[in-house]
Symmetry: C2
């Protein structure tokens, strides 16, 4: 296989894991599920049989550079790329491609989120390997699809075409988050996969697609690449990056390019999109509870408790999410987790930035 | 009126306010309702127009003597009586009577719990004044009854006889905690009062009743009184007190004595028997919530939150009790507050005495 590089996108500022996640400490730098390693550490570790540490690039924002250095001491500092502003995934990927192109004329490029969980690493690496083969064979853009297990309405879907080749499919179309009825149809048809936001392509393929489909961004990354390793890098990056449109790689490239393939994965993927994910990625006890930390439960069921340093006692409750941190405690009904952001809005209004 | 003394019973080790109350810091020493003063401080303050500080006696146990000194610096240290063991209210009252009898040959004695709330102090003092008059007039034992406002099944009741005199009634009988049907009958009959555990009598009357009805205790308190102010006091107290039977003044004296009167009170009394009392003694907000501390509520109703130093955010919940302290957080369904003691049992089994 061709030299393989990886780009890990770690600029997210999610609010859905408040009070554990904060503006200065988002989800990818936390161990939400209670294990010792953070999500970004697990993401890098998972790749170690396939990608050298010096070929792993982390794209994040200025605020998190120190966190990345601290949590991933094996990654060369020059591989940590700080976006001057959030511009969605297309400029992020273009920046990484520009930097990598200074080191390698051609290489495979794996693009991965930093804040998803994957249960079965070997199966995951196998899928990445097959995606790499597909990407190498031609100028193909490959997206990893997840075989859906229930009619989720919170994800985008990928419709794929029948294929003679087992396990590699041409993408017919990308579809937006469906309603429940449509999601059920997608599930039963067997023709749809969840869009996981993981991509595999050759450096030359993605750069050519930027040139064709997002020429404004393509034009900007050439001077950025040229300034790589010079005193002018930061200023050049800043000047060009801030002028980029905010665009996702899904809309900007994948939905408009030729030669889009998908490889379905069944490797225990979870995007850990809310506290409710803790039930999916951990084993519940006999009462349906998840109890991470120092917890006493009495007559309590189907409740998720993520403790901190204190004891948490739950008595006679059900279907709650309880999260304890040094300076804030959340008690939230399971069906109200989307409203956690209203707490943050409230804190913003009250200028309580230390809690956000 | 005769010289008036007061005995405040402060030996309770209630578990119902865990995690705020602890073995070494029970309810009477807390400000559960969020105000600045603790319950025992309020109890003493309330009496100040009626009883001199040097005539107020606190009966507690050895573990709480320092807390009493700290919270009630105006009470002479010699008025703080430490029971060598918990023996219910009869020995407690006998001990106080013995000590007071060294100072006054005759006096009125008010006996009050240290952990009840009273909203209308003037009305309370008026009732105590009338109770004092009734106690002075003859060898009467007077108990303060509370006019019931709903069919509570957690209190004992006092049935009183019709009287020509307004506001003072002979007690027909004391009855135990009724079931709901019976409580409803009591309420509608207008012949019953709640037994508040507050008593007024002359020193000579209660001593005479001990002599007649609890002679074993009466025999023991004479040497205790004689040792008062000597080096032998502690040893004498210990020797006799430990031999006393565990007996309540209700069973041991009130239910068996002659000349028992009751004065009905309407002074906003609450025994603060569980966290649910916070709803009765505080004003709820428009959503029925009690929020004491640093609280954000979103779509939350009928919930009691007693915060500590941290922010507490409640989202989409109802009918909960949430209590935050330095080292423990409680989340309890309102209808499950009696099960809080199971948390403590669990902690005892696990030898986690620091949390009890």
């Amino acid at each position: 296989m061709m030299k393989t590089t990886a780009v890990i996108m770690a600029g997210g500022r999610g609010e859905r894991f408040w009070p554990m996640s904060r503006m200065h400490y988002p989800k990818q730098f936390l161990s939400l599920t209670g294990g010792g390693k953070t999500m970004i550490q697990l993401t890098v570790e998972r790749l170690s049989p396939m990608v050298e540490m010096e070929d792993i690039y982390i794209v994040t924002n200025q605020d998190y550079v120190e966190l990345v250095k601290e949590q991933l001491p094996g990654i060369p500092h020059s591989n940590i790329l700080a976006e001057p502003a959030a511009r969605n995934t297309a400029p992020c990927i273009a920046l990484a491609a520009a930097v990598i192109s200074r080191k390698y004329e051609e290489a495979l490029m794996l693009v991965l989120p930093s804040d998803h969980l994957i249960k079965y690493t070997e199966m995951f690496l196998d899928v990445l390997g097959r995606a790499g083969e597909t990407a190498e064979k031609g100028n193909n853009l490959v997206t990893i699809g997840i075989t859906p297990t229930y009619p989720e309405t919170g994800y985008g879907y990928i419709q794929f075409a029948a294929s003679k080749e087992q396990g590699v499919y041409r993408v017919d179309r990308f579809v937006e988050k469906p309603d429940l009825e449509t999601a059920k149809e997608y599930l039963s048809s067997g023709q749809y996969l969840w869009n996981s936001g993981m991509f595999v392509w050759k450096l030359s393929t993605i750069l050519e697609n930027f040139r064709l489909l997002l020429p404004e961004i393509y034009a900007g990354i050439r001077p950025i690449a040229d300034a790589c390793g010079t005193d002018m890098f930061e200023e050049t990056l800043r000047r060009h990056f801030l002028s980029f449109p905010s665009e996702s790689v899904d809309y900007g490239i994948m939905e408009r390019a030729e030669n889009i393939y998908t490889i379905p994965g069944n490797f225990g993927w979870d995007d850990v999109g809310s506290w409710l994910a803790l039930e999916r990625v951990n084993r519940t006890n006999e009462y349906g509870n998840i109890a991470l930390g120092d917890i006493v439960t009495i007559d309590t069921k189907d409740t998720i408790i993520r403790g901190g340093k204190r004891l948490i006692a739950a008595v006679g409750v059900e279907d709650l999410v309880v999260v304890d941190t040094e300076d804030a405690v959340l008690i939230c009904a399971k069906d109200s987790t989307p409203k956690i952001k209203k707490v943050i809005e409230n804190l913003k209004i009250c200028n309580r930035n230390e809690l956000i």
